[in-house]
């Protein structure tokens, strides 16, 4: 993550301009230019039992806040400022979620293991497995499977829920970091929902659309997007949590 002198100058100019006009296109460009930093920092937290994808999203939220709050006239480099904000966001993520505290390690491991079991069994059976089938395959009890699912989803996203304070244009992340999926253009609902949904990362928007508008099952979405069903499940739960909180913030 490094810029040459010319790029740095360009970014400095954009920050100054953004500080004055709060232009959303500019904001999108500034965010995009620093996504590498967010990803880099997310990786540093990736050995704590959290999927990297999730961490990158958390870091991106931190980046977004940093772009919005950065005051170029203070003479601090943006990367310094942003690093601080992003790391803060990542730490808060772990703290809020309290994964390590609340979910016994055994349950965390079982949850991670179940991800593979679900996808293997789904493929083998040609349908979604039942809980007893999962339990048998994983050689644990049904209760343990259910407990692990709950442990894995014990995500508390209070820190991610709302746009940052003073964020007057909360919908521009979706608009600039990824166009709203054209499929999203479900005529009737689109108008009302776009501002809310556009705040979500592109992939979450896509998953919401596939599940709730296209009617695909979680397992179908998982295979279409090439990610695990557990991940689909987590992202869905998380998106809904964020939407609810965002609505209350308004």
């Amino acid at each position: 993550m490094s810029f040459d002198a010319e790029q740095r100058e360009d970014l400095r100019r954009k920050f100054a301009e953004f500080a004055l006009g709060r232009d959303t296109t500019l904001r999108g460009e500034l965010i995009e230019a620093h996504l590498g930093l967010a990803e880099y920092l997310a990786r540093r937290f990736s050995n704590r039992g959290e999927p990297l994808d999730d961490l990158v999203q958390v870091a991106s939220v931190g980046l977004l806040k940093a772009v919005d709050r950065f005051e170029p006239e203070r003479g601090v480099e943006f990367s310094t400022y942003a690093t601080h904000t992003i790391v803060g966001e990542l730490k808060r993520h772990f703290r809020d979620k309290g994964w390590a505290v609340r979910a016994p390690r055994r349950m965390q491991e079982l949850y991670l293991r179940l991800g593979k079991v679900v996808s293997n069994l789904s493929q083998e059976l040609g349908r979604s497995p039942t809980i007893p089938e999962l339990a048998t395959e994983a050689q644990v009890s049904e209760e343990e499977v259910l407990e692990a699912l709950e442990a894995g989803q014990a995500y508390r996203f209070s820190s991610l829920d709302a746009p940052s304070p003073g964020d007057e244009d909360g919908d521009s992340l979706g608009a600039h970091l990824g166009e709203v999926d054209p499929l999203m253009a479900d005529a009737e609902h689109r108008m009302a929902l776009t501002p809310l949904i556009a705040r979500l990362p592109h992939r979450e928007q896509n998953i919401l659309h596939l599940r709730f508008f296209e009617g695909l099952t979680q397992s179908e979405i998982a295979s279409r997007l090439g990610i695990s069903q557990m991940h689909v499940s987590r992202l869905l739960a998380r998106s809904l949590t964020k939407l609810r909180a965002a609505a209350e913030e308004d």
Binding site: V118, S122, R127, S128, P129, T130, I131, P132, L134, E142, E143, V145, L146, E147, L149, E150, Q153, A154, D161, H189, A192, L193, P195, L196, I197, R211, F212, F213, G215, T217, Q218, S219, E220, Q229, S233, L236, A237, L240, T241, L243, R244, A245, A246, A247, E248, D250
Partner: protein
């Protein structure tokens, strides 16, 4: 008294206790032979409906849940009894909340076979849901 095919649960009306509502639902769904997909749908739906009752910050009071196992399906009823007056439940009608309400309906109809959100005779916020086995992920 609950009948033999019924489980009742009363939890504080705050988000951290919704876990119990979900675990109970998934435990019963598992007994009924629901698939993983169906259990996951049910968990999301319980969350969605409970949040409609209590809002994301919770309320003072309790949510009473009644889970009824009927052949091939699970029915859940939730009744909110709150002591904090209006609170931040589903009364407010900002444009965003209305939009979310529309989306909520879309979500719930994708997840469930039937549901309703209503006020009972005593004016309490309630929901009812029906989730059948064998309607998700088994084309």
């Amino acid at each position: 008294m609950p009948s033999q095919d019924e489980v009742r649960l009363a939890v504080p009306a705050t988000p951290e206790f919704l876990r119990l509502a979900r675990v109970t639902a998934s435990g019963l769904a598992s007994r009924l032979g629901f698939t993983f997909d169906e259990v996951e749908d049910l968990r999301l739906a319980i969350d969605e409906l409970c949040f409609i009752l209590i809002g994301t910050r919770g309320r003072d009071g309790v949510v009473e849940l009644r889970y009824a196992m009927v052949p091939g399906a699970l029915e859940v009823e939730g009744v909110g009894s709150f002591t904090d007056g209006g609170g931040n439940g589903h009364h407010s009608e900002s444009a965003t909340e209305l939009a979310l309400a529309a989306f909520s309906q879309q979500i719930l109809s994708a997840l469930l076979d039937d549901y309703a959100v209503y006020r009972n005779d005593e004016g309490k916020s309630c929901f009812r849901l029906l989730k059948r086995r064998g309607t998700t992920g088994n084309p």
